[in-house]
Symmetry: none
Subunit: 415 residues, 2 copies
């Protein structure tokens, strides 16, 4: 095996061009991208990606859930490839970097290796995972979850969007129901390049985030049942106000997660039959709790449940609070994380260890194979928003770290 010099670099302008070229598939007037999974724009970007991979000499196949795999041969084909990639679908009002950078960065790595005539020991395989975002079909990250065995293929194929279209029907509609069974493409490990989607790297002026963990996530559905009554004739002490109850829950959740050092969000809250002169009697709400530490996750759930119980009692209302999803924290593979860190150091990029706030396909894959992630800064920490932005320089830095991590993990074949 040959050790390659750190002077091998990807083509920054070519990577930037592909990002902007693919952003036209679902591009919005504000410069974002609306490319819901398995929709017409997703078909266009998939066709573009397949051709680009084939032009780069890769062999492309598609599995039964539409995930795309593009294989670059290695010297030793008895070994499973090192996987790279992410997803090409976006949020309804998403940006042009979330997920896309990981797939196009991987393509740029392959193109660079081709141009330099470098053969790796192990093969390399670029993956485009179907429906990472979860905006059209639930759950998010469904294809990688099925890949690791959390769901059966048939279960996922039967999931419906809001219009009643199943995943299977949507795959057929765009011609991306592949003939390869889910899980057939094996990997020796996986590295995902992604934007941070948070403000930490930018705030600390670091170019690279060496992602060593991913937050655990708890999702809850809540419902407050107070009593609707007249805003003008119900004395304050006799009210059973669902919105005042929710307000206490929101602020208590802030206190609980603040004390423990975790995250808590009430993202949805809907008053039943709202009217400006009626005291809200019923509110449905959701809660999202996150921590990279399983113990903290347990502690914030307990803290929030205790607070809700106390609030419901003194407000004399009922609060239902049901857990609908539990994703334990992810601890990425130490060797893979070290490989990312070594690559960033060798290339001279400022970097820090970081926890992924969002969930990623890599968090699922880590359940069954060594996995790591590379983050680059997000302008103002913004993501899931058309204002999402990263610089050409940072995108290139991320792809360079990805390339040198992959070379270290896959090995360079002797000439």
């Amino acid at each position: 095996m040959t050790k390659l010099g750190d002077n091998l670099k990807i083509d920054s302008a070519r990577l930037w061009d592909t990002i902007n070229e693919t952003a036209k598939f679902g591009g919005t007037p504000k410069g974002g991208v609306r490319r819901l999974t398995l929709g017409p724009e997703d078909k266009l970007v998939r066709n573009w990606f397949r051709k680009a991979c084939e032009d780069a000499g890769l062999e492309v196949h598609v599995d039964a859930l539409g995930s795309m795999f593009a294989l670059r041969k290695g010297r030793d084909m008895s070994k499973a490839p090192i996987g790279v990639g992410s997803h090409l679908d976006t949020q309804p009002t998403g940006g042009k970097f979330d997920g896309i950078l990981g797939v196009l960065g991987a393509l740029e790595v392959v193109r660079t290796l081709n141009d330099a005539g470098i053969e790796t020991e192990m093969p390399i395989c670029i993956a485009n995972w179907t429906n990472e975002e979860g905006s059209r079909f639930a759950p998010a990250m469904m294809a990688s979850a099925a890949y690791v065995g959390d769901f059966t293929t048939d279960d996922i194929l039967s999931r419906k969007d809001i219009a009643g279209v199943t995943v299977g029907e949507a795959l057929d509609e765009i011609g991306y129901r592949g003939d390869v069974a889910v899980g057939t493409q094996k990997f020796s490990g996986f590295v995902e390049l992604h934007i941070e989607q948070g403000p930490i790297l930018e705030a600390e002026s670091k170019t690279i985030g060496v992602v060593d963990s991913g937050q655990g996530v708890l999702w809850f559905d809540g419902k407050i049942t107070g009593f609707e009554s007249h805003a003008g004739s119900t004395p304050m002490p006799l009210r059973k106000d669902a919105l005042a109850t929710l307000s206490e829950i929101v602020l208590a959740t802030e206190r609980v997660v603040g004390n423990i050092g975790a995250l808590g969000t009430i993202g949805e809250a809907v008053i039943a039959n709202p009217s400006r002169n009626v005291i809200p009697g019923e509110i449905a709400f959701t809660m999202d709790l996150r921590s990279a530490d399983a113990g903290k996750l347990d502690a914030i759930e307990k803290g929030v449940r205790d607070a809700i119980k106390e609030i419901a009692a003194h407000r004399k209302v009922d609060v239902a609070f049901d857990k609908v999803w539990h994703k334990p924290p992810t601890h990425f593979n130490k060797d893979f994380v070290n490989a990312v860190e070594t690559a960033a150091t060798s290339l001279g990029y400022s970097h820090r260890r970081i926890t992924s706030g969002a969930g990623h396909d890599a968090c699922n894959l880590n359940n069954i194979m060594p996995t790591a992630m590379v983050f680059i800064p997000s302008k103002d920490g913004i993501s899931h928003n058309e204002l999402e932005s990263s610089t050409q320089e940072d995108c290139a830095a991320g792809a360079n770290v990805l390339m040198h991590t992959v070379l270290a993990l896959a090995g360079v074949a002797s000439k």
Copy 2:
């Protein structure tokens, strides 16, 4: 003028039957009524009411805003009638007494006078005011407000519901845009029978509330502009959470009105683009503040505005907070209030002076004519709710007080 004995009573069973008969127009499975103003169910109850009035020998006309007036001639037609009535529209999930009792109680008074062959000196006119509730079109009590000159007819005709339908279009749709100009029907005074919609009469075991005042009302439209960001990757201290901001405003409003002894309600709150893993970036909300004391009303507005300013500053968000309605406290006419009190006493009903918590068409009418109201108890103080309930006995008591008040004010013609 003849003084009639207190033994003249309305027909309790007939009144109760009409209440239950009209409750079928928009009746809900839970026993409430959903009869939004100028909708198809409102058309049906209006048609029923028109026929019932005509069957009772009354002359019905409709004004340009759809308010209905049913005239019973008096001996002296040079005098404007004593008005009685209320409204037939309901809240989206309303009951079968709010407003309805006042119109059907007035009809029952006329039917009783007809049966007894009693002629009054002054004519009597039953009114059904359009859109008292304000659930479909703002403002509430719009027809009586236009009647007293607070709005022009054209202004009200152009108000739109949430679907973009104007009052004018809705009137045409149900055939109730009348040809009589608003304000044409004059009154010598007005008496409105209504359920209390609060818990006081029931708590004190009083049958009749002699309403001597009405709370002032302030309505506000608010909008919080924070910043949408990812629930998993935005540290708590960097968030601009619109829902957490609203939560502080809700609880601060409770404190302010509690300290001053007034009422405050946030009845509507809508998160823009809600998603369970996105921090709410924008929320529109409404606020309703009430007090029977003009000074207290000023004080709570100031207290709430100060609190919002402080909350917006420390949350680093923008809060727009605009007053959309200001109704000063109402002080009903002393002679009319005394007439109500005398009738209740003569009939032997337990009674007390009371302030109306809700706004009523009578509060508008009081601006330009002597006006008073009669309240009866609401079970558990509940209103604007399908569980709204009053007893047959109390409804009859209210109608009897209404009748003897009207007879005292209109005078009984000598035979």
